[in-house]
């Protein structure tokens, strides 16, 4: 069993309808995704061996998945030898319980957090809060979302759905003063708000972008320095790590530290990357815990086609190029993993319910696959997941009938004739326009937003038979 914030409450089309109605949201998303898209293209264009790096990145991750038991135990042994304590969690609830107990043991009532997808996934902040522990998000975007009482809508930039003036309003409502809505002024307000918390925090909580098996090293990639604060200043550091984050060797980082920044923020390198191995006397936290989390990953691993989703390094390039994400934003996906990767990851980590509508939230346009730094063939997995439905009975019957008709020449020709004849009265009714404004259900879903074409007066095969085979 898996759980946490990865289960959509509403079917995607229903959730999308609400978001589509928000013109401000669409303008914000369009502006932001197009900005990052162009930056990413420029930065990737600088790298002559980008395709080689992508292939290596994908293969390293596939290698990890095939050797995961050995690599996990190797990581555990190395991290333990370096002074860390390694914990394991089967699911979200267990991971939250482990972390909450560790924080309780320190006697502190407030922790500072580095932005982390897996802690969002397992719903850690709510669990801590229920135990009387305040979890302070320190990444600027996470802070904005937390202050707004909202949920993240993007993997990299959880507050992508807000523009600068909305952010200033959120800050004001929470007692953070910014003189203007200029981004530097807003960043300054966040700096002042968090500074005292960083300097006094006794416990930091992080995720990890990578976990090196051979050395027990963890890696956090960030921009603002909030990560460094949380990883360096507190006495105790608790890192929650998905089991798929393993890399075999330190050397493998040479691939991912090239792929990740250019794919995520469109930078040659993010401002700060921190690597630490257990405890270093006199430098940084002297009590270090690592919690390895499954939460549906092993179920995903068991699927021959779907397991490639576990290569994901959470760069969010696929979100930024996705035309569907651009129109509806992250909340429509109902999971902390939105966009194309979310559409294949969320249903695999936690199947059933509204998550089953996510694989249909794509035109299969392929932009995500092109952008993915670890070559996850997202369209392939989407189509694969559609095999298990949902398949409404009327749709299934229609698909079966069409298949039966179109595999046989005579049945097919007869059906084409029938369709052509059936359209004749409609053609007459539409007059000279030649396009249909309204069709009955289920084709009304087509004519809800666009006119429909009519079958031609003569099918191609009728023309061919008439003109060419006399």
């Amino acid at each position: 069993m898996s759980g946490g914030n990865i289960v959509a409450r509403l079917p995607f089309p229903v959730a999308a309808r609400k978001e589509l109605g928000d013109a401000q949201l669409r303008a914000n998303l369009r502006n932001a995704t197009h900005t990052i898209r162009d930056k990413r293209l420029r930065m990737v264009g600088e790298v002559p061996d980008w395709e080689e790096l992508r292939r290596s990145g994908a293969a390293i991750k596939d290698d990890v998945l095939s050797r995961l038991p050995e690599l996990l135990t190797q990581f555990e042994a190395a991290a333990t030898a370096a002074g860390a304590t390694v914990h394991w969690a089967r699911d979200a609830a267990e991971a939250c319980a482990v972390v909450t107990a560790l924080v309780r043991d320190t006697g502190t009532a407030e922790v500072v957090k580095v932005k982390s997808m897996v802690t969002q996934e397992i719903g850690l902040n709510d669990s801590l809060e229920a135990a009387g522990i305040a979890a302070v998000e320190t990444d600027l975007a996470e802070l904005i979302v937390q202050l707004a009482g909202d949920t993240p809508s993007h993997i990299l930039v959880p507050a992508i759905h807000y523009n600068r003036s909305q952010i200033r309003d959120i800050f004001h409502r929470n007692g953070l003063s910014a003189l203007t809505d200029d981004p530097p002024a807003l960043a300054e307000a966040a700096r002042r708000h968090l500074r005292a918390k960083f300097l006094s925090a006794r416990v930091g909580i992080s995720g990890a972008n990578f976990a090196v098996a051979e050395s027990g090293t963890l890696v956090v990639v960030e921009s603002e320095g909030n990560g460094r604060m949380c990883l360096t200043l507190p006495e105790t550091l608790i890192s929650v790590v998905g089991i798929e984050k393993i890399l075999p060797t330190f050397r493998d980082l040479e691939v991912f530290l090239q792929l990740l920044p250019r794919s995520s923020t469109g930078e040659r390198m993010n401002p700060y990357t921190s690597l630490w191995t257990g405890v270093t006397p006199g430098d940084g936290p002297q009590t270090v815990h690592i919690v390895l989390v499954d939460n549906g990953r092993t179920e995903t691993l068991a699927d021959d086609v779907g397991r490639q989703a576990l290569r994901c390094i959470r760069c969010s390039a696929c979100l930024n190029v996705c035309p569907v994400y651009e129109r509806v934003g992250g909340h429509a996906y109902g999971s902390v993993y939105p966009g194309p990767i979310g559409a294949i990851l969320s249903p695999q980590l936690s199947g059933g319910g509204a998550n089953r509508t996510l694989p249909y939230a794509s035109t299969l346009c392929g932009a995500c696959y092109d952008a993915c730094p670890v070559r996850i063939n997202i369209p392939e997995v989407l189509v694969h997941l559609r095999q298990t439905g949902p398949h409404p009975p009327a749709e299934r019957a229609a698909m079966r009938a069409l298949s039966w008709i179109m595999r046989d020449r005579r049945r097919y020709a007869a059906a084409l004739r029938a369709a052509r004849r059936g359209a004749a009265p409609i053609r007459w009714a539409t007059g000279r326009r030649g396009a249909v404004r309204h069709l009955p259900w289920p084709l009304s879903k087509w004519t809800s937003t666009r006119d429909a074409p009519l079958p031609a007066k003569q099918t191609f095969r009728e023309w061919w038979a008439h003109e060419r085979t006399r």
Partner: protein, 232 residues
């Protein structure tokens, strides 16, 4: 060369003029075209919608129908992409036929080595590269090069050309709202170019785009690029 036309089911029923245009272009270049009447649907809609079992007989029918031809030419990026990308996974015996199946522009440019097919079309045209043509078949600038060689044709750049139009097969119905939002943006870009025609390699995308343009009452009309290449 023994060339077979793979007309596609949508073209057969709704856009037969595109099939006739392919025949016209290839015959003008001196080739004889056959139309194997056993052909039906390639199975794309079934496979993409999660009905693999229902797609398999259609795949088998395609492989049987087109076995033995030197080239199978289809005027559709998405149907040819279905054959190219999915058939090897769905039908292990499809290798020979798959290797000889071409989208029209691939056949003209790569196999025949032609970019000027002798067409004349004195109109302002913008070109929308459809997703399957662009990112699965990697058609690149082949269709554009063919259009640029058409006499009288003024080719206008389409801003955001590489963005999906929002069709996506059953997506257009299952997620009609999002599809409509994508379509509205695409139509606006097309209208802003001032083009009389928007050309593409896929009539299914063009039906969607054309339905949006017609609903909006704009002046631009959809046209399959094969029909431009056939014009004289």
């Amino acid at each position: 060369m023994k060339v077979a036309l793979f007309v596609t089911c949508v073209n057969d029923l709704v856009f037969p003029g595109t099939g006739r245009a392919v025949v016209e272009v290839l015959e003008r270049l001196g080739h004889t075209v056959e139309f194997p009447v056993e052909q039906g649907c390639c199975g794309q809609m079934h496979a993409n919608s999660g009905y693999r079992e229902e797609a398999l007989p259609l795949v088998a029918n395609f492989v049987k129908t087109f076995d033995g031809y030197d080239a199978v030419v289809g005027p559709s990026g998405s149907c040819v992409a279905m054959v190219r990308d999915w058939y090897p996974k769905l039908a292990p015996d499809s290798g020979e036929v798959v290797a000889r199946t071409y989208e029209l522009s691939e056949f003209l440019v790569d196999v025949l080595g032609v970019t000027d097919v002798g067409a004349t079309f004195p109109h302002r045209v913008t070109y929308h590269p459809t997703c399957h043509g662009l990112r699965m078949l990697r058609l690149g600038d082949r269709p554009r090069r063919l259009l640029e060689s058409v006499r009288g044709l003024e080719l206008l750049d389409l801003p955001g050309a590489e963005e999906c139009c929002g069709f996506g097969g059953t997506f257009a119905m299952k997620n009609a709202g999002v599809s409509g939002a994508m379509l509205a943006d695409k139509c606006r870009s097309i209208v802003d170019t001032g083009a009389e025609y928007v050309a593409a390699v896929d009539n299914s995308c063009l039906a969607h785009i054309g339905g949006g343009l017609s609903r909006a009452g704009g002046p631009a009309k959809p046209i399959h690029y094969a029909e431009i290449l056939a014009a004289s």
